[in-house]
Symmetry: C2
Subunit: 346 residues, 2 copies
């Protein structure tokens, strides 16, 4: 049993070294405020006793846990896994530890998770996207928990955020698709409700369309949870209609990988019969055949910068302007020129 055996305390060390507990504490936390001989005596005692500070006591006295909480939709999606990995590595470098929780893409669970992490003493919080109940924002504000929003960036919202403009990115990719002559473009989107990144991507699509005089309402759009099989099924549905799209833009790479397989199941060649695009540029985008034209998002960079920004927030206390990481378009084989309708209808 853990509690029955007791570990050496600061006081034990102080006694062994013949100093006060205050001095031991200083040796450990602010060593330059102690002269060298004293410090050496103390450190020797620390080593001899195998002393480790008691976490709870330290937290209570210092009112900080050096712990950062992150709440993400899921670790199973490579984009969050990579970003979170980089986030954790950077936190570790600064002496912080990561507390994680996931909502499994059920936004209604987020509040409970936030409260749990706050109750666990998280010094700061990393949250994905802006969509949130005002009451929750009020709670966060009242508890004065530094919070950073990642994976999204809206210049008009004055909250600390680090990410990229999903809408602008999708608009850019759409313009590339339009430039290839496509005029009938299908969309396989993630569920937009409760996911502002998905909603923004759809909005960006509509925006680029509008600029060319086209209308979103004329395009076949399917919303489906992110997932390989869902992409496959959606693709099959889209291509079995009378007015087949010549290009299908997907809400992320996983959906696009599924769409590729859907096309194959239908005997359609990509991009000759139909073009496909993704979003995120995860490893999968390079692995599938043909490789995906997609939006490259710097996930690791986002994670690293998010860690730095959040620590600054926690330690500095003052707010940070939203920062836009920017994305680029990765041109690969899955996007080609539009094929005249009659030819492809075969």
């Amino acid at each position: 049993m853990r509690s029955s055996r007791s570990f050496p305390t600061l006081e034990d060390v102080a006694k062994a070294a013949g100093v006060s507990t205050a001095t031991v504490s200083r040796c450990l936390n602010t060593p330059d405020r102690v002269i060298k001989p004293t410090r050496e005596k103390v450190m020797k005692a620390v080593d001899a006793l195998g002393y480790t500070p008691n976490f709870g006591a330290r937290v209570m006295a210092a009112k900080r846990t050096f712990t950062i909480g992150a709440i993400i939709p899921t670790m199973e999606n490579a984009i969050f896994a990579r970003g979170l990995q980089a986030f954790q590595e950077e936190l570790h470098r600064h002496g912080y530890t990561l507390l994680v929780s996931s909502t499994a893409y059920r936004p209604e669970l987020e509040e409970e998770q936030i409260r749990a992490l706050v109750a666990r003493g998280a010094d700061g919080l990393l949250l994905i996207g802006y969509d949130r109940d005002p009451a929750l924002n009020a709670y966060l504000h009242q508890r004065a928990i530094p919070t950073l929003i990642a994976w999204a960036f809206k210049p008009e919202i004055p909250k600390p955020a680090i990410g990229f403009d999903n809408r602008a990115a999708m608009a850019r990719l759409t313009r590339e698709v339009l430039a290839q002559g496509h005029r009938r473009i299908g969309v396989i989107s993630g569920i937009a409700k409760g996911n502002d990144r998905a909603a923004e991507r759809l909005a960006g699509f509509a925006e680029a369309l509008g600029a060319t005089g086209l209308d979103l309402r004329d395009m076949p759009v399917i919303e489906t949870p992110y997932g390989f099989e869902n992409g496959e099924n959606a693709m099959i549905r889209l291509m079995q209609t009378d007015a087949r799209p010549t290009a299908v833009m997907c809400g992320n790479d996983v959906l696009a990988a599924g769409a590729l397989r859907g096309a194959r199941a239908l005997g359609l060649a990509v991009p000759q019969d139909v073009s496909v695009t993704g979003f995120d540029d995860i490893e999968l985008a390079r692995i599938v055949t043909p490789p995906l034209t997609t939006v490259h998002v710097p996930h690791r960079e986002m994670g690293t910068k998010a860690a730095i920004a959040l620590i600054a927030l926690v330690e500095g206390g003052d707010s940070l302007p939203p920062t836009d990481l920017g994305v680029s378009i990765k041109r690969r084989e899955s996007l080609g020129p539009a094929t005249p309708r009659d030819e492809q209808a075969g």
Copy 2:
């Protein structure tokens, strides 16, 4: 500033409700030990003040954090991401929070991470595999931190573990490959040093080979860090030798996906010219062309059961026997019968 504003304390609640702090504490932690009228009075005060327990104080007094630490090689590998996701979901269900740290596949970092999580007050630890410095094991034992090993299972080692027998699994898959007539089999393995799972897979391969009168030393084996491009390069190297293997077994699915692309780069058809197998059965195994024959590992189940077992260890205190989850072989198109040497040499 967080520290300047102070939140209501237990004592504030006690005063507001006209009871002692002990009673408030009981209402929150062991409500059945308080009669209903008292409890209602207290809860009303809790709500009115918006009271939340102070984490540090609670930890110090209770000597528990309700926090579990996990140290994994990386979140970027889907197998750990999925398992950890399930692990976290189950922990959450039991009121525990997950603290994560990763070694980026550098085993020498593990000790530091373990100490950091212990210092953060983790009530228990999830560790991957058995390979560990004896001094570290001694430290864990001395601190009396309940520890569970996952992703591996060795019946002969009497430590709490939950996983599967990597060696037996690889031996089984090898027998399938042998049954297809392959006698010259290449291996693209993960780095075995410091990774007992990779080492065991290699050992399982050798074992099955030996049972058929073949010898590992006659087979071309490449060790390389897990990674798509590494698999691709290794495959190209293997197939450019004089004595080409007719089948290539890979240490995991990511390497196998790379091998598939390497084969394609060389103009080799899979499985007609060369068979390829994977390990893990992540989503990718179904996505690539052709889909991979691989070992199916129940990652989510492992995560969920690991959480349950570790909580039992933390709360019960007594040890658990190692449990074997078992794996199955997924037969897909990437494995086919061996082709006569002269034919394929072309």
